[in-house]
């Protein structure tokens, strides 16, 4: 037998409503986890990615033995985790002889794997190894600038894919209003060859330039690493088409009572319903007035004019 279950408490209900599909999406949460074996380097890569996106990510620190995103059957527990944490991107680290320091970045659609990119991490430099003025340190959750350099990001299909995934991973929340005083970080990704990308994280130093636009200066704050492309899997066309749908694709509803004129521009018609004055409340009956004052007023009127029936409740 089946039944419909609704949460008993409002907090849970609100939390579940937050997870509902929305017309305009503002950003993805990221799940960061690892396989059965990791290296020290990979552990620090994963923690630092977690630090970079702390406001919108979940870190799993236990070993996961049945997560193999590229293999069939290896994605079930990953999809379950995604459902549980409401994360739709994941960063999965694993270390093996064949693929040392392996990082799989993937996206989900409706809690099912959408696409995958596998990169190897080389020349990793952690945040701690950089020396800089700590006043410059980027604040948590600030909107980053992202720069992609190199023709490889356009010509090589794998890199093009990686660019999209990196953009999705690091762009932060999609916002409408941005505080200009809050921009303080930038990611720089450079394609060196057809399979190697240099990734660095920089702080921004805004310098006066005499105009409205300040002069930007990048100060490397780390982490910085080389990403060497390994495997990648693109979504199939049907899934891609499904996932690329936006609310804007739908035909717009016809706007009623709004016309256009060459001379006057936008013209709107306003219909005013019949004002039923007979049904309207008299001002002295208004509920907002204090009772004593209201009663005094009514008494005054009663003395002058015909006596009025008083409301029950005074007894």
């Amino acid at each position: 037998m089946m039944k419909f279950k609704t949460p008993k408490k409002g907090r849970i209900r609100r939390e579940l409503e937050k997870r509902a599909p929305r017309i305009v999406e503002t950003g993805r949460k990221t799940l960061i986890l690892q396989g059965m074996k990791t290296s020290g380097l990979l552990n620090s890569v994963l923690t630092e990615i977690y630090h970079l996106k702390k406001e919108s990510s979940v870190r799993y620190t236990r070993k996961n033995d049945n997560v193999r995103p590229f293999e069939s059957g290896g994605e079930t527990s990953l999809e379950f985790f995604s459902q549980k944490t409401d994360c739709s991107t994941f960063v999965f680290g694993s270390h093996s002889k064949k693929r040392p320091d392996n990082l799989i970045i993937g996206r989900m659609y409706d809690h099912h794997i959408y696409d995958l990119v596998e990169v190897g991490v080389e020349n990793f430099k952690s945040m701690e190894s950089f020396v800089y003025d700590k006043k410059l340190a980027p604040k948590m959750g600030s909107k980053p600038f992202i720069a992609f350099i190199g023709e490889g990001f356009e010509s090589v299909e794998e890199l093009k894919h990686l660019k999209e995934v990196l953009l999705e991973l690091f762009r932060g929340e999609v916002v409408e209003n941005l505080n200009l005083a809050g921009v303080d970080r930038a990611y720089v990704c450079t394609a060196l060859s057809s399979n190697r990308v240099v990734f660095t994280h920089c702080a921004l130093r805004l310098k006066k330039s005499g105009t409205i636009v300040p002069r930007m200066e990048l100060v490397e704050v780390g982490p910085s690493m080389d990403l060497v492309l390994r495997r990648h899997r693109l979504p199939n066309d049907g899934l891609r088409k499904e996932a690329m749908k936006t609310a804007a694709d739908k035909p717009k509803k016809k706007e009623k009572n709004v016309g256009r004129d060459v001379i006057q521009g936008k013209i709107g018609k306003v219909y005013i319903p019949d004002q039923q004055l007979g049904d309207m409340n008299l001002p002295n009956k208004a509920k907002g007035v204090k009772r004593e004052r209201r009663e005094a007023k009514m008494n005054k009127q009663a003395n002058g004019h015909a006596p009025k029936k008083q409301k029950g409740g005074s007894n």
Binding site: F4, L167, N179, P235, A243, G313
Partner: protein
């Protein structure tokens, strides 16, 4: 100029991409490489900042706030678009009848207490618990409790509403538009190893089974009286059909067509045995070759085309060739 053409700026994501840039020579040391990357990165970030800081801004306590344009880079959705909820039965009915929702006041005047009370919920108007006296009606039966009746009625109404809600929700499930806070959950999970919960058998299925059971008699159920609701047993096998043997038009020609088709199929299957082109060609060539060699021989011996002579000549020739072979063998030894 050239760089400006290859540079793309997506202000919604604060992203800049230079597709035209490539390093003239990759620097050997890591520091130099990073330095060069940062140099180029600064350029790109500056380009984004140029566009960003020139947007119209409103002053706030925390700093100037700009309105970002929507991102231009198309990225896939995280979840599917929210699906529209199918209308409930009441909504369908109201639409058909042209009934429109009217706003009702939240508070209603309660005549019993003479105060304004809520329409629904706690301390509501006309609450069963607050009604001390009910006026007797002419239809009231002696011995019945009007308060209990009222309560039972209310309970019935609630149950009915619940049933309607369930039915509507089932439609919502079918349309895959269940709100996220409502979950469809199993009330009792089947324990592994046991049989699944017995399915409710439909009337149709029961009828079929009854019909099948009735055939278990000596006559195959032919002379048994049918019970009400009992159906004929389902015919499980194929109904065989035979085509008319006599030739004619339409149905009559079907038989011939059928046999023709079978024959054609058979012939098509074995057609390669009837005419093997390769074999035929090679045979033709061999014959031609033989003919030519024969002609040559005739020319060399100058003999006439008498048959017996030929036969005579052939024998020694063969023997000679055999001898030659043996001689060769000896030589090689």
């Amino acid at each position: 100029m050239e760089e400006a053409r290859t540079m793309q700026v997506d202000l919604g994501n604060l992203m800049a991409f230079d597709s035209g840039h490539h390093f003239p020579s990759l620097p050997s040391s890591r520091e130099e490489l990073i330095e060069k990357c940062l140099e180029k990165g600064t350029e790109l970030v500056q380009a984004v900042a140029d566009a960003l800081f020139n947007l119209p801004s409103t002053e706030d306590v925390d700093g100037p706030i700009v309105k970002l344009p929507p991102p231009t880079t198309k990225l896939p959705r995280e979840k599917h678009l929210p699906k529209p909820k199918p209308p409930t039965k009441w909504e369908l009915f109201a639409k058909a009848k042209g009934i429109k929702n009217r706003k009702k006041d939240k508070v209603v005047y309660d005549e019993q207490t003479g105060t304004w009370k809520r329409r629904y919920g706690y301390d509501r108007v006309n609450d069963d618990r607050d009604v001390p006296i009910l006026e007797a009606k002419a239809t009231d039966e002696v011995g019945s409790d009007p308060f209990a009746e009222r309560r039972a009625e209310k309970k019935k109404r609630v149950e009915k509403q619940n049933k309607n809600r369930m039915q509507n929700l089932k439609q919502v499930v079918k349309a895959h538009a269940l709100p996220s806070h409502i979950q469809l959950a199993a009330t009792a999970l089947p324990i592994t190893g046991t049989q699944a919960a017995p399915k409710k058998v439909s009337k149709d299925e029961l009828g079929n089974v009854a019909g099948l059971a009735a055939t278990a008699t000596a006559s195959g159920g032919k002379f048994d009286k049918k019970l009400p609701g009992e159906k004929k047993p389902k015919h499980e096998q194929k109904h065989r059909k035979f085509l008319p043997v006599a030739e004619g038009k339409g149905q009559g020609s079907k038989e011939k067509e059928q046999t023709d088709r079978v024959l054609n199929k058979l012939l098509a299957k074995n057609s390669h045995e009837i005419l093997n082109v390769d074999k035929a060609v090679s045979m033709y060539k061999v014959k031609k070759e033989k003919k030519r060699s024969k002609q040559k021989r005739d020319d060399s011996s100058n003999s006439s085309k008498l048959k017996p002579q030929k036969k005579v000549q052939k024998k020694p020739f063969k023997k000679g060739s055999a001898k030659k072979g043996s001689e060769k063998k000896g030589k090689s030894k």
